[in-house]
Amino acid sequence: MILLEILSAVLLAAGTLFIVSGAVGLLRFPDFYTRIHATGITDSAGAGLILLGLLLRTTTWEAGVRLLIILLFLVVTGPTATHLLAHAARRDGVPVWRKGHPRR
Amino acid sequence: MIANLPVLQVLIPLGCAPLCVLLRRRSLAWLVFLMAALGSLACAAVLARQVAAHGPLHYAVGGWAPPYGIEFVVAGYNTPVLLVVSGAAVAAAVYSLGSVRTEIDDRRAPLLYTFLCLTLGGLLGLTVTGDVFNAFVFLEISSLSTYAMVALGPRRRALPAAFRYLVIGTVGATFVLIGIGLAYAVTGTLNMADLAARLAAADSDRALYAAAVFVFVGLAVKAAVFPLHAWLPGAYGEAPSTVSTFLAATSTKVALYVLCRLTFTVFGAGLVFGTMPVGRIGLLAGGLAAVAASAVACFQTDLKYLLAWSSIAQIGYILAGISLGTAAGVSAAYLHLINHAVIKASLFAAAGLVLVRLGSVQLSALAGLGRRMPWTFAAIVIAGLGLVGVPPTAGFAGKWALASALIEAGQWPVLVAMLVSSLLALGYIGRIVETAWFREPASVAEPSGAPASMTAVVWVLVAVSVVFGLDAALPASLAESAAEALLNGGG
């Protein structure tokens, strides 16, 4: 039991680290492409880790199944949305930041 | 089934609405709406007789006793409204046979009938419900259908008029919802009778006052009480003729009734007129409406807009009667409500007739047509005299009752406002007469023939208004019992 709790805590901590760093990246990076790079990876990974951490604390199978469905959902839709966004931004000519230019 | 009448008369039109969509044929949808209107009228008549004989009826929907479930209450104070609304629906149904054919194409006509059914059901439900939140739901049913119907008007200006109505109406409804929320917060109930009992016992005055103000302002928007009337001229002026005829007789009247019902049976006259200055504000708004709106009406160039502004003035009269808070005042308000519904419906119906025959309701287009369309204009004049309040028309009976109630309460300024407003009404009716008879015809085009159904409705309504003027026994007794039921808490 103790082992599970420790594992859960580790997963939750890792997930938390991921989502916070992703959010910082979203705010601090200089242009759209770097920002989507920051969030695209951390968002799915962080959410996945947190959901797994919660899964380890779950006692009923109903909640567990739902957590897994949410996890699956996020893992499928998150990257899809990111991919589409980046693609559409490229097509619409969202400008790319170069060193020394102002942030946009 | 007799026991289920209170719910049946709401259910018939609501149930007929999907039927109109399914049938998809103009004539069948018309027939369905006519049947719905007749059915509601029959229910209302039977209910009125039962209430008169045995007192108020309470109907627990779903078999759950109030305050756990929703309750319908039919009592002296709402039977006149039920009769007016369902009667107006029957008139609109017959009238629409000729009118809708000329204004709405075949494929959209069934949808118009759907909305007429929904509006009718919504208004009737709003009238009989004994639960404040349920009242909000019915209010929204009727409002949403009304917005859609206004948008069907023939000119493109109908669209912004409908949008304006939608925005203002929704803000009004949300105000009502805030008021309901505040009252609910300090009582924990939504049933009107329960609410009345708990409000009287609650010691949270500030929330209570605010609740009353929000509900009153919200309903005043729906009733187009001056100065919250901004939506009405466009909505009535641009809607298809059938719709303006029906709405002019019903929608603002029902909102005024709900205002009355909440004032006397929920918040209590002592609170509203004693502690809060609602009575004085109401008299002020009513007096201002009577003068200002009549004055604006004098300068209108479009017959339907003129009538719409005149409605705002007449709503002012009714509001003034209610705001007196006396039995005589409320009874006069009810009497005027009934009479004005008949008169204004006949006028809008006549305006629709003019529109069909001339293709326009601009006053300039009416020039010199009094001789060519004598019957139509005769109807307008008779009904118009009712609006002014010339004896022996129905308008006179209502105004006389109102005047005596005002004198009894010593409200001389309001009385003066009423007199001025009547003179102004004489002015705008006189302007129609002058244009129609004493101007050179602008065009030589012969007016087209009038559909019999429309002419018939115009004349039946005019006749009813004259009969109510000559022998005011029926409306007067309805109005008196309504005031009696309201003021003596006969709920």
Partner: protein, 327 residues
């Protein structure tokens, strides 16, 4: 300060600030997106305040349907707002100040937030809805019990409003008006999206059915199910184009489903009256009465709501999406 208070305060602040930003933004696309965001926050607040059913509905309606409709309309009209003339601000400020002042005045009498001793909680209705309902109706989700049985008339009214809105949109934008069909633009060129959407569709529909029938035990019910169903078709329409979606779900079929649900609800009420009860008195549906009959009534009502809501929401989306920009 409790954890709850901190979370609640943070979310409420986020919501208020978002609203302020929306009010100031003149780019309407951005405003519409932030409206979606505020709707997400609202839904989270509903979860926090224990209104799980409401959160369900707000998420589906506010984030799903409303956003899609708003964006759809923006695609048809101009997406930038003109500067508000100065003279319009004054009356707005006056009305807002008056209303706000009145609310602040009233708030001094409002019971403390979260108090278990407020008039709302002390009223006998609370006991009946929370505990007696377990014997009378036997549905663990008391929101469903109140919605579909104690206050079923409100729900009927709500369904009528949905029906009216669907008919109104059909009247204004439907195939009956003379608008031209727009070209079939879609996102077909994105293969990943196509695959993902095809994977999601069956799942969404199953989820909708689950929500419909699980409404007695957890958050959910007919309305939520209907909206989820519609959301599925919105997704399909957005990805595969309107024509494909309408081949799957022809407008004519939707048109007859819309009145069907409402008819079912009204019909149920008529049956209860014919059986000698009052309108929507489910107790008459079975000779034994009691919870079993209530269950039957509630299930019928939920299915009726689900049918009409799904059909109305989908046809509203089709009506907006089938409109061609005029300029």
């Amino acid at each position: 300060m409790t954890t709850f208070t901190v979370i609640n305060f943070t979310l409420l602040t986020i919501l208020t600030v978002t609203a302020l930003v929306i009010a100031r933004l003149r780019a309407l696309y951005e405003a519409a997106m932030l409206t979606a965001l505020s709707s997400l926050v609202t839904a989270s607040l509903f979860v926090l305040m224990d209104a799980v059913d409401v959160a369900f509905t707000e998420a589906a309606v506010g984030v799903g349907i409303s956003t899609v409709l708003l964006l759809g309309v923006l695609a048809l009209t101009r997406s930038r707002e003109a500067v508000t003339p100065r003279h319009r601000h004054l009356p707005a400020i006056a009305v807002t100040a008056l209303t706000g002042g009145l609310l602040v005045y009233a708030a001094q009498d409002l019971p403390a937030f979260g108090s278990a001793d407020s008039p709302v909680q002390r009223h006998p209705v609370t006991e009946v809805y929370l505990h007696q309902s377990q014997k009378e109706i036997g549905v663990p989700n008391t929101v469903t019990a109140v919605l579909a049985s104690y206050r079923a008339l409100d729900t009927l009214g709500e369904l009528v409003v949905v029906f009216a809105a669907g008919t109104a949109v059909l009247l204004l934008l439907g195939p009956l008006t003379h608008g031209k069909r727009r070209q079939n633009l879609d996102l077909m060129e994105y293969k990943v999206l196509r695959v993902v959407s095809s994977l999601l569709m069956p799942f969404v529909l199953v989820f909708a059915l689950y929500v419909l029938f699980h409404g007695d035990f957890g958050p959910g019910g007919g309305f939520q199910a209907g909206v989820i169903f519609a959301t599925g078709f919105v997704l399909h329409g957005l990805v595969f184009g309107l024509d494909k979606s309408q081949r799957v779900l022809p407008p004519a079929a939707l048109g007859s489903l819309v009145p069907l649900g409402l008819g079912l609800f009204v019909g149920l009420g008529v049956v209860t009256m014919l059986l000698g009860g009052s309108f929507l008195d489910y107790g008459t549906l079975l000779p034994t009465g009691g919870p079993a009959a209530q269950h039957l009534g509630i299930l019928t009502v939920e299915v009726a709501i689900g049918i009409t809501v799904a059909a109305v929401m989908t046809s509203i989306f089709f009506a907006f999406a089938g409109r061609r920009p005029t300029r």
